[in-house]
């Protein structure tokens, strides 16, 4: 398990999402990376305590990653992350009365996985309820476990692959954790951040459309 950076890749005007994804994949393949199957990261949101008055609405996000098939990540609004066994889903079902699944909240990033030496690339198209939302590109550098040590390397790689505009955006999450040992939970937090951005964008769009 190395250090992971998840980048949001904007879709330019007049191009479909699939076209952009194909473009990135082609670029990665040209680099010499080997295709190693598919990947999927999904996120479900549960809302707490609708029945209880005078308490702020609390959310719990349950994330799964195909890279960690045995694990289930539960992240609260505050950023607290619980890494549990995959059976945790069953536990959430038991808590139905308190935590209710938000309708149509399931958002996932799916796509191809590539390996290139010490790097792993994942090009995922994000969709919520089968609506295309955007593109997330994940770059993982396997030999390193501290984000701060390989940040420049990652930046260089992402610059050459995704362009400098994309490479500039860095997750606020990673900035705070530059000198700590990187864990899979951190990857999931990055994904959640992006997923929340997508959701916000859609709600803004809807508001504008109205």
């Amino acid at each position: 398990m190395g250090v992971v950076c998840v980048y949001f890749y904007p879709v330019p005007e007049g191009k479909s999402g699939q076209q952009v994804v194909d473009g990135i994949q082609k670029q990665i393949e040209l680099l010499g990376a080997v295709k190693t199957g598919n990947f999927c990261v999904d996120c479900e949101t549960f809302q707490a305590g609708s029945g209880i008055q005078n308490t702020p609405q609390r959310q719990v996000n349950i994330l799964h990653s195909s890279e960690q098939p045995a694990s289930c990540f539960a992240i609260l609004d505050t950023g607290t992350c619980l890494v549990a066994d995959a059976l945790f889903d069953g536990l959430m079902q038991k808590l139905k009365h308190y935590y209710q699944q938000r309708k149509g909240s399931k958002i996932e990033s799916k796509g191809q996985r590539y390996e290139y030496g010490d790097f792993i690339f994942k090009v995922g198209s994000v969709s919520q309820a089968s609506n295309f939302k955007g593109i997330l590109v994940e770059i993982e550098y396997c030999p390193c476990v501290v984000a701060g040590d390989c940040m420049n390397l990652m930046k260089e790689m992402s610059q050459s692959l995704l362009g400098s505009a994309v490479a500039e955006q860095q997750s606020s999450f990673l900035k705070t954790k530059t000198d700590m040992i990187y864990t899979p939970a951190d990857t999931m937090s990055q994904y959640l951040e992006h997923f929340n951005n997508f959701k916000k964008a859609t709600s803004v769009n809807q508001a504008m459309n109205r």
Binding site: M1, S66, E67, Q68, P69, A70, S71, C72, F73, V83, A84, D85, A86, L87, F88, T183, P184, A185
Partner: protein, 627 residues
Amino acid sequence: MAVSSVTVSVEPVLESKIQEVKLDGQEIYVPPLSMSENLTKLAHKIDFYKDESDEKGKPTSEGEKDEAEEKVLTSFEQPSWVWDSVRNKLKAAFTEMAVLTDVLNIIKEKRYMVADPVSQDQPDNKPSVLLLAKKRGLVSAGSVLISGAERLKRSHSEHSNRAQDDYFIELLKIRQNWRLKKVGASILGDLTYKTAGSRFFQGGTFEVTKIVDDKTDTSTSHSRGSLEVIIPSELEGVAYIQVEVKSVPEMMDLTSVTLKMPAGLGVIRSDAYWQNKLEVAQNVLFCKELFAQLAREAVQIKSSTPHIVVGNQIITNAFPGIQLSIVLCHYTGKEKKIPQAPQKLEHNHVLEHSLHQLLREVHFKNINYVAPHPVNAMLGMSKRRRLAGPQGTSRRELVEMNVRDTLLEQIIKQTKHAVLRLRTMHVLDELALCIQDPQITAHWSCLNSSLECCVRINITAYGYEVVRSSLVLIIEVDTIQAILKDSRTITLSFEDKALQDLILWQISQHHIQVVQQLAKFHAWTVVSTNFNVGVGDIDLYGTAASLMMASPKGDKVLAFRSGAYNKIQMYLKEIDPSEAVDTSPAVTNPKWQKIIGTFQAVDVEKLQGKTFSQKVDMVMAKLTSMS
């Protein structure tokens, strides 16, 4: 009433109590109590709780005595006198005694009371009746004894008969060793390894029946008992797994893979004892499971040279030219007896045994999981797998966790190691035989596993054991790690040529080391040594070592060159001291002047001495004395 003449004295017997009797008969007495002790003892015996008011109301039988007593007691009449209760008791006792004397008087003096004897019928004392009664009693006692003796005799005889042909005793015995159950009217048994963890599909149900006794042939019934087991037809006969390691030519000839069925096996007779039959059948089942497992793995595993499964034989390649064949031999007794030439069975017992062991290990792992077993976790998960979720273990690590060597891979590994070990042994033995001059000794470690072993090789010259080159070979699955004297590690391939080269190279260096040591003894000066000479004849393998040394006076120079495959070469140069040496300004150190001049080759073979070291020793001694 009371007669004053009668005095009753109560005193203890003049015998002391026996405390213990020793083994020699000596008796140890309790020492007699002194007066005061006796008094306290007696005082303790008095029941102080008995109400005195009883006595007060009682009419005292002896008025006079009572009065006298009263007089005595008046002097002591104090409410807080400690002996007050004792006195009362004594008084009561005295009253009792008085009553007792009264009673005795009544009995003794006939004038108070008369007792008349009651008339009673005399028992019939006729001798004939007595005799009859005695006789009857004796007869009944005798009959009880006889019936008991008969019962004993009967049970004894039954017991001795049963040992051979009692069906139920046999059934009890078979139940102690095998799993049986009653289905309807028949008794079925199970000889599979399922309870031991086997997951083989084939069943092994046998039926237990009773032999209907035919009294004609007693000799057979003795050996087979009165119980018969019917074994399923597919488990009949004798089976075993045969493992062979053969060296075959480069082109593997598949036609040579014939289905062998050695006929010289001890066939189990149909009238054998059930225990034998069941054990053999169980072995057949085990061998079948083992072979099925290996065959399945052979088909599944992809390797550079594919494993071949032909009929009852699995053929794999351990090394190029070395073939491992695993054969399932199952002789059911129904085959036609083909008169076969007695085959030389060069099978490998060790590998056969470890195959059996490996399958048993698989069985064991199927039912025994590694502790601990938390109640809230899935059964059979390892601790690492349980923690995989919370620790966010990646897919690759999870896959690695599940990788387990298959039986076939393990046996191939063991085969490779066994072959490699044999090869190494062979090479070392050959070299030790061929090369006499430096002696090669190999110390095999007695502690080894089926996949690794270790040997230490010492190279010494006869008579000059001070110098010793040693190296350690660690024989692994398909490579040999050699650790040299200077702790360099060399990885050798499975080819035995590589090992031979290495040892020859070590010997060539050993020669130079011996010479170096000799130089020290003879006070010669070593001018230069080089273990990796880059000039001269190129060796087939490795580099030659060289040494140059000057005599104490510096007028003789000896040079040696020793290579792995070139024989040791020796050169001598004598410097004439009278010869004027023009000292060139380029020469910084006088020792280099000795290099100038021509060397003469010395034929080592013709020198006097048995070994090379002796020869050099002799030459050096001669040269030292000559100069």
